[in-house]
C-alpha cells in the first residue's frame, strides 16, 4: 500500500522530527506510514481551507465579470487556514496588523508629551 504513494515529505525530514520526540525505529515502513499520515493530514487541511476560500468567492455573486479572475488564483490566507485548523484541533490566531505607532497603547497623559 505504501510503495505506490508519491511521497512529498522526504524520509529524512520525517526521521528528524520523529527523532526529536523519541521515536527511533530502523523500519523504513513505519517512517513512511507516518509520512503518509502527515501528508493526509496536510491535504485534509488544504482541502478544508480551499472550501472556505471557494465559499468566500462564491458568496458575493452579483455579476459574472468579477467572478472569473478570482477563480484562477486561489491563495491560502491565514483566515482560511485558521478556520480549517480549528476543526482539526489547532488554535491558530494571527494578528492582522501590529500597532501603528510607538505610542499606541500607552497612557493618554504620556502620549501627549
Amino acid at each position: 500500500m505504501l510503495g505506490s504513494v508519491v511521497r512529498k515529505i522526504p524520509d529524512e525530514l520525517v526521521e528528524h522530527y520523529l527523532g526529536r520526540s523519541g521515536f527511533h525505529c530502523p523500519d523504513l515502513r513505519l517512517t513512511r506510514l507516518v509520512a503518509v499520515a502527515t501528508q493526509k493530514f496536510l491535504s485534509d487541511i488544504a482541502s478544508d481551507s480551499l472550501q472556505h476560500c471557494k465559499a468566500r468567492v462564491a458568496a458575493p455573486i452579483k455579476d459574472n465579470k468579477s467572478k472569473q479572475p478570482k477563480d484562477k488564483r486561489l491563495v491560502l490566507t491565514m483566515d482560511d487556514l485558521s478556520k480549517a485548523l480549528r476543526e482539526h484541533g489547532v488554535n491558530l490566531k494571527h494578528p492582522e496588523y501590529f500597532a501603528d505607532s510607538p505610542s499606541a497603547g500607552m497612557a493618554p497623559s504620556t502620549r501627549e508629551e
Binding site: 508519491v6 499520515a37 491563495v75
Partner: protein
C-alpha cells in the same frame, strides 16, 4: 538537539524549516492552491513538523507502556487512532484488531485517491548532513597529531590543506601590494604588521624652545597660521626619509 547516539549529524533548524516549507507547498499545490501567503505557508509547515513529532511522541509512549524502547506497527497505529480527532469507523470497539483499524482504512482511501493523480517526485532522495560534511572526527579518532601543540586531541580535525591556503593567500596579498603600492595589511611570518617603504617620518614636538617652522611644500602650506604664533606653539618637523616603520602588536 537531543539526537540519539547513532545519529551524530543534526539537521540545522533552518534547513528543516525550509524543507518542510517546500513539502507543504507541494502538497498545497496538489490540492488545488496556486499561491499561498508566506506566513500561512510557514505556519502550516511548522504545524506539519509538530504533527510528525506528536505522532512520534504518542507512538513512543505506547511502546514504553508495554516495556519496549522501539515502537512497532501496533504503536504507530494506536498513535494514529489517537490523532484522529473526528473519530474513525470502529473506534467504539475496544477489542478491534489493530491492523484492520478504521484509521488505517481512511489512510488507504487517501492513498488510493492520491494515486490517481500522478506527480513527478518533487525532491530528490538525499541525506541532509551527509553531502558536504561527513560530521567531524576528532584528532584522536582519526589517529593524527594536531600540528599546533596547544590544540587538544579531542577537538575536530582541521580541514585539509589549511596551511597551503593560508600561504597562498599571503602570497597573493603580497603580490597585490607590490603592484598598486597601496597600504595593505600583510601578515608576515612573525605576525607583525608591516608598512610599505618610503613613508615620511613625522615627529611631534611640544615645546617653547623650538620654533622651527618650515612648512614643507608637500603639505600644501597648511601650517602657515601656526608659524606666527608665540612660544607655546606646536611645531611639526617633517623629516622625509626612506625609513621603515614597524609597528608591533
Amino acid at each position: 538537539m537531543g539526537t540519539p547516539a547513532k545519529h551524530p549529524r543534526a539537521v540545522p533548524r533552518h534547513l528543516q524549516a525550509a524543507v518542510s516549507t517546500v513539502s507543504t507547498a507541494q502538497i498545497l499545490r496538489s490540492s488545488g492552491y496556486s499561491a499561498a501567503e508566506p506566513t500561512a505557508l510557514r505556519a502550516l509547515s511548522d504545524i506539519a513538523g509538530r504533527y510528525i513529532a506528536s505522532l512520534g511522541r504518542a507512538a513512543a509512549a505506547f511502546a514504553e507502556a508495554r516495556g519496549r524502547t522501539e515502537p512497532n506497527v501496533a504503536d504507530a497505529v494506536l498513535a494514529l487512532e489517537d490523532h484522529a480527532l473526528g473519530g474513525f469507523p470502529g473506534a467504539s470497539d475496544p477489542t478491534r484488531p489493530l491492523l484492520c483499524s478504521g484509521a488505517l482504512a481512511e489512510l488507504a482511501q487517501f492513498v488510493a485517491a492520491v494515486r490517481e493523480v500522478p506527480f513527478a517526485k518533487p525532491l530528490p532522495r538525499r541525506d541532509p548532513g551527509c553531502g558536504s560534511s561527513d560530521g567531524w572526527e576528532s584528532f584522536a579518532a582519526a589517529g593524527r597529531e594536531p600540528r599546533l601543540r596547544h590544540v587538544p586531541q579531542w577537538l575536530p580535525c582541521f580541514p585539509e590543506g589549511w596551511e597551503e591556503q593560508l600561504r597562498v593567500r599571503c602570497q597573493e596579498a603580497a603580490n597585490d601590494e607590490k603592484d598598486t603600492g597601496q597600504v595593505v595589511t600583510v601578515m608576515n611570518g612573525n605576525g607583525k604588521r608591516g608598512m610599505p617603504e618610503n613613508r615620511e617620518k613625522l615627529s611631534f614636538l611640544l615645546g617653547q624652545k623650538r620654533q622651527r617652522v618650515k612648512p614643507s611644500d608637500k603639505h600644501g602650506g597648511a601650517f602657515e597660521p601656526f608659524t606666527k604664533q608665540g612660544e607655546n606653539s606646536l611645531s611639526i618637523e617633517c623629516i622625509s626619509s626612506a625609513s621603515n616603520l614597524v609597528i608591533g602588536p
